[in-house]
């Protein structure tokens, strides 16, 4: 169905939308720009104004007519409304303040702020395309953000064709404009033709609105249709003829093959790392999660904030910063947007809107950067394609993946200095596979990823080292305390695949914790795992984790510190331990774990599980390479900053992978191209 509206008809249309209970959101002039925000009606639109854009420049100009949508694009589209820059996820009721120890939670409530449904007025083709990308991020699975899903589902969309594309637009090359395609997700589509609108109906909701206009909705005419077709075609032709294009063909492969291109250095010399590009880009989704815990309030809030991959915190974990340089941050942004996005969400992350060009204070132009690399690639033509992330095998949690449950600490066991194992009792049935992790949290300090280091009956074990605010608070918990828990998340050690093979487990430091569940399983089942060897390295004998337990697995072990009875001894397990240094009296190995690997002849045919700090993993892999172990025989566990654990905050990205949902356990070949590469 279609109709023809005059300006009066259009005004009435918006009034009707308002009367139907929608909050109107549309373009309006504010602070010298066209801002997308709440409007009262048609009068708030930038009638008669347009915006001129150039690299690093944006300004408004009067058009001299009464065009309602005669501008191109403001700095932001509906991203702000669909994923608010600051959003409360849950409210946590706090227990009484104590003399010692962290504040603990007593209840968790959803922060339902189900306001009026939104009517998004004036969305361009590129903005619809960007919304489709955001849909994939927030609702594409395996996890679904119910807040976004609900806003999106309820939103009424009134789209507008572009007949006068802006100076910086290149939507034709990204195939996202200028006309709004008939199949796109809209309720009504407007084409502004002089003093009239041609309206195309895209849904029943849209039809009802048109019907409600009565005589104000006039029948559309063949001339109007022809004018639309001509207008869109002319705009497309004009865009087509421009110099600014983004050639998407083979772009992920091109970028990932050119990670060392000198262009990144040239870019870094100009880029200020201000993050403006990420704030204006309609497809960016990175965020952080913070605790808002007023000192004396009875509740605290877990709050999501927009964030940018250009910030320092984004790529920092305790003791390591993975992207210290601007070059690496810009490269991350661009290789993600134009490369990794394709394998993560099935689409490029650029919809050709040109905002990042206009709003970059130094006028960096993403299309120019791509063209420069394309014109002089440093990599050979047959560069390896980007590895696609493995399908996430873990079933997604039902419901809101950000809503934690309250778990109770049953016991606390001191393992080492500043390392404890918390046995916690979750609510209800909890099943996990060894290698997976939980997000454990407390009101003042927030959540952190912690591997499940074993399960004993209904209790989940988490072995935690106190390094920063959150881990310190968790380590200070006592039996009976409560904490928030979300999980289990991530991939697991491939226990089924290891059956019948000789397995070698190589661990360093606390890296033994994520492996303990898998080891226990293999120790208990000699019929499935005929030979299991553990090579374990730590700084000193005092820092050997689970010493009693692991030594009890190997009946040939004689040296200290063995005190526990050998409960699980079976003869198929060999444990070799090495330390970096020891006091006299230690009769075990001294030297790095790679030295131990050379000492114990290892089979090229065994299967290998590796976990520990990344530097150790890299040296271990180098050693495995010399033995001739193939990459598909090795699994390892990776670590990056994490906030959401469900593939939405963008922090844990590792090339095309989300470590939280595609990992943390990866088969070596899936990440071989990135391991050890600076900036990832």
């Amino acid at each position: 169905m279609s109709a023809r509206l005059t300006h009066d008809g259009f005004r009435r249309l918006l009034e009707q939308v308002r009367e139907a209970g929608y909050a109107l959101v549309g373009p309006t002039i504010s602070d010298g720009a066209i801002v997308y925000g709440p409007i009262a009606g048609a009068d708030d639109l930038p009638i008669g104004w347009t915006d001129e854009q150039a690299p690093g420049r944006y300004r408004l100009r009067e058009r001299g007519d009464r065009a309602h949508f005669g501008y191109v694009l403001g700095p932001q589209g509906p991203r702000r409304q669909l994923t608010p820059p600051v959003e409360t996820l849950v409210r946590i009721r706090l227990g009484p303040r104590r003399e010692q120890g962290p504040r603990t939670p007593e209840g968790v409530e959803a922060a339902d702020e189900d306001g009026e449904p939104l009517a998004l007025i004036g969305l361009r083709a590129c903005e619809l395309a960007a919304m489709a990308v955001q849909d994939a991020v927030w609702t594409g699975g395996p996890f679904v953000d119910p807040r976004y899903a609900r806003r999106r589902e309820r939103a009424l969309i009134i789209a507008v064709d572009c007949l006068e594309p802006g100076e910086l637009c290149f939507c034709v090359s990204t195939n996202t404009g200028p006309g709004v395609e008939a199949g796109a997700s809209f309720d009504l589509r407007l084409t502004e033709l002089g003093e009239e609108f041609l309206v195309e109906v895209g849904s029943e909701r849209g039809q009802a609105l048109i019907d409600g206009l009565g005589e104000l909705a006039e029948p559309s005419t063949a001339q109007l249709f022809a004018a639309r077709t001509q207008g869109v075609l002319a705009a497309a032709m004009e865009l087509h003829g421009r110099e600014r294009q983004l050639d998407l063909d083979g772009l992920p492969e091109l970028l990932f093959a050119n990670l060392d291109h000198p262009r990144w250095d040239e870019l870094a010399a100009r880029c200020l790392s201000c993050g403006s590009c990420t704030l204006v880009c309609p497809t960016c989704f990175c965020h952080r999660v913070e605790e808002r815990a007023p000192l004396d309030a009875p509740t605290s809030e877990r709050v999501r904030h927009w964030d940018s991959c250009f910030t320092d915190e984004h790529s920092r974990i305790h003791g390591a910063q993975f992207r210290p340089q601007i070059r690496e941050r810009y490269r991350q942004w661009m290789t993600h947007k134009l490369g990794a996005w394709v394998s993560q969400f099935g689409t490029s992350g650029c919809v050709g809107c040109g905002r990042c060009i206009a709003w970059c204070p130094v006028g960096i132009d993403i299309t120019e950067e791509v063209a420069a690399i394309r014109a002089a690639p440093v990599a050979p033509d047959d560069a390896e394609p980007v590895a696609l992330p493995p399908a996430t095998t873990v079933p997604a949690l039902a419901g809101d993946p950000m809503h934690p449950q309250l778990a109770r600490v049953v016991s606390v066991r001191e393992e080492l200095r500043e390392v404890v194992t918390l046995a916690v009792e979750p609510v209800g049935v909890f099943s996990h596979a060894p290698g997976q992790f939980n997000m454990l949290g407390l009101p003042d300090v927030g959540e952190v990823p912690i591997s499940i280091s074993g399960q004993a009956g209904g209790e989940l074990l988490h072995t935690i080292r106190a390094v920063g605010a959150a881990s310190r608070a968790l380590v200070a918990l006592e039996a009976g305390d409560r904490l928030t828990l979300r999980g289990p998340f991530g991939s697991a050690w491939p226990l089924a695949e290891l059956r019948g093979h000789n397995v070698v487990v190589i661990a360093g430091g606390l890296g033994l914790a994520p492996l303990r569940g898998a080891l226990r399983e293999m120790v208990a089942h000699p019929e499935r795992y005929p030979s299991v060897r553990l090579l374990y390295g730590a700084r000193s004998p005092e820092e050997l984790l689970f010493a009693d337990e692991i030594l009890s697995w190997d009946r040939s072990i004689r040296f200290a510190p063995t005190t526990a009875p050998a409960v699980l001894e079976s003869g198929h397990v060999k444990v070799h331990v090495t330390v970096d240094g020891a006091a006299p009296g230690w009769t075990g190995h001294v030297g790095v774990v790679t030295k131990l690997m050379r000492r114990k002849p290892l089979s090229a045919h065994a299967r290998y599980l590796v976990c520990g700090p990344e530097i150790m993993i890299r040296f271990v892999l180098r050693e495995l390479e010399t033995i001739g172990v193939a990459q598909d025989q090795v699994w390892l566990s990776m670590e990056r900053n994490m906030k959401c654990a469900v593939g939405m905050c963008g922090r844990c990205q590792y090339g095309p992978h989300f470590i939280c949902k595609d990992g943390p356990v990866f088969r070596w070949d899936a990440i071989a191209g990135l391991l050890g590469r600076e900036g990832f």
Partner: protein, 160 residues
């Protein structure tokens, strides 16, 4: 080229079973066995101390030897352990050198050892043998060096 002397050394069989045997010709092994002697150390025997003249060059046959650094004012620290097949006491390959570390048998240990002077002489007389000794030694020292570098970064220190 030096011809192996008539009559086999009683240590040849032990030498042949060590990993280093792979890099030498049988005739070389016989020569090396001739200058080697077998030593058995009870647990906690000190093999050498800092300042000692570096006389012997060792290969571990069984047991374990720990190398301990003693820094005044700090607790002594074992910085390396050596077990079957490992070679130690490299200083003996250099003329007039002294030990800078303490070597202790941390359990009952058997070693083959030869005097550094005899080994150097043998290398001098038979350059082919000398080349193999030195390249094997270089390989081991290079690996030790690389392990030391890895340790400098404190590989278990950070993260999970």
């Amino acid at each position: 080229m030096v011809a192996p002397p008539p009559g086999k050394s009683p240590h040849l069989a032990k030498l042949e079973q060590l990993p280093l045997a792979e890099v030498f010709e049988p005739s070389h092994l016989e020569l090396l066995a001739q200058i080697a002697s077998q030593e058995d150390y009870a647990a906690e025997t000190t093999l050498f101390r800092p300042g000692d003249e570096a006389q012997w060059f060792y290969a571990v046959v069984s047991g374990r030897v720990s190398l301990t650094l003693q820094v005044p004012g700090r607790a002594p620290t074992i910085v390396a352990s050596l077990s079957r097949g490992d070679l130690f006491g490299w200083e003996a390959l250099r003329v007039d050198s002294r030990r800078d570390i303490t070597a202790v048998a941390s359990k009952a240990t058997q070693c083959l050892r030869c005097s550094g002077a005899a080994l150097r002489e043998l290398c001098e007389l038979d350059h082919e043998l000398g080349y193999r000794v030195m390249s094997h030694a270089f390989d081991r020292v290079a690996r030790d060096l690389s392990d030391c570098r890895v340790r400098l970064v404190d590989m278990y220190g950070q993260g999970c």
